[in-house]
Symmetry: C2
Subunit: 316 residues, 2 copies
Amino acid sequence: MQNFASPPQRDVALREVGLRDGLQIHPTFMPTQAKLAWIRAEAAAGMPEIEVTSYVPPKLIPQFADAEEVSRLALRVPGLTVAALIPNARGAQRGIELGVHKLNFVMSVSRTHNLKNVRREREDSVADFRAIRALCDALPPERRPVLGGGLSTALGCSYEGRIPAADVVRYAAQLAEAGADEIVVADTVGYSGPAQVREVFRLVMAEVAPLPVAAHFHDTRGLGIANALAALDCGVRAFDASLAGMGGCPFAPGATGNIVMDDLCFLMASMGLRTGVDLERLLAVRDIVRAALPDIDMYGGVARAGLPRLDTGVLR
Amino acid sequence: MQNFASPPQRDVALREVGLRDGLQIHPTFMPTQAKLAWIRAEAAAGMPEIEVTSYVPPKLIPQFADAEEVSRLALRVPGLTVAALIPNARGAQRGIELGVHKLNFVMSVSRTHNLKNVRREREDSVADFRAIRALCDALPPERRPVLGGGLSTALGCSYEGRIPAADVVRYAAQLAEAGADEIVVADTVGYSGPAQVREVFRLVMAEVAPLPVAAHFHDTRGLGIANALAALDCGVRAFDASLAGMGGCPFAPGATGNIVMDDLCFLMASMGLRTGVDLERLLAVRDIVRAALPDIDMYGGVARAGLPRLDTGVLR
């Protein structure tokens, strides 16, 4: 018999990034209480980790003006790993003061994108990461956040086009060497296909092993879930996604955002992989978000069509 | 230098089924000339094979009331393989009289679905197929159509739920033994995931080898392109899809239809697999269909977001 307090067994870790990546370019501010309702409901559906905000200056992204309050409220949700995106040491300092569980540092493999996004050379971003690692290491272990090393535009860039796999491997190795607790490889603009995913993830995983490598895909051109399958085949066991695929791409007006969490969850269930997430309860979270943000685009096959019959064997 | 008249080299055969599967449950009749414009434009974009209609009684599906005329007009399009769906020997007779290049026979692996769809036992459908094979074999070779053996509901059924892989293998073997030129395994209601796809396709391919096995997926629950990847990994090299993912599912109101041809074409290009289809010209065909059928739902990531930059290396 399972112990009452034991966490559910998981084969794959899903991580909700809709509150950050999904809302980032959405023009309407989502009220803090609505964000909290979303977080609470999705955590209650079994989502183990949610990236709840981004510690960037509110002037840059007004959607995250409530970053502190959202973080504090999310930390009260039982059992949830609260993560936040940080672009630099200033962001890390905010996260540390708030006591969030995980800091997701991000830099771009594309030099041009890194210059435009965080206004520094990639080497300076790696140096920032070292400083953030030192900040974390100076904390007592019980207050030390997990520190993720994210590589955006790793599979293509709207400015530079193709990104050499060797560059991804190089910066993955540098972040690993600098003390990342995991590496996140991101197809920020949704350029990639499964062949490239397999090539790049295999190289990165071989380089940084035994450090875990997570995947962050966008469904911009319809291949997001296939790319997730390709990463899964490589042994990736942690995936970012956003509920209802919310979000977009600043470089492709009208484009969709992250891969659809609900469909990703269905993919995992169809493969017999345990996520700990209750798909029906997850689908119900869409209504909470819809009520708060009636103007946001939502996607997802499972939500449109409903789940298959329970005796299909598809959901093992 | 390539010979002027030689067909383009292809690694994967894409087959447009939107005019049949996409239009089948659409309530508005698409005028014959619009169907022809669609066929012409997509053939000109390099689509090698189009299922242009279904030889069923017009009373059953009014959309195919012009089946004869569409077939005759499509046969005038240079280089195009003109296919049509047939549910029985009467349909085959119509196709043979018209002289279409390929007859796609279809029966359901689900007994209940076969009874509801073609009003006969599966064994009787196999017997029909034998009779159709005999009809074809009685023709002189130059008039003999290619005869496909399609297995619908092979990966799940809205009535029966799970379909045992052994049943798919059994009916695939029976159609192969009865003289099918290819076997088509179809996820008619979009229930499947990649694990099941791999299991079933591997079993079927091993059973009927060296007969080619084609895949027919619906994107009902968001996994269609991932399922295509899974089939591709098994060695499948022929895929049905519909432009803009047109179509739906009679069992799931609001659900999407076949996998999106444009995104499937992008998938293949991203993997360095040649289809002979010009993706930009294919995308332009959407406008022709949109003009004729303003009320039909269209899907597709590439159409929404546009192609990646040409120097990404994604399109090899």
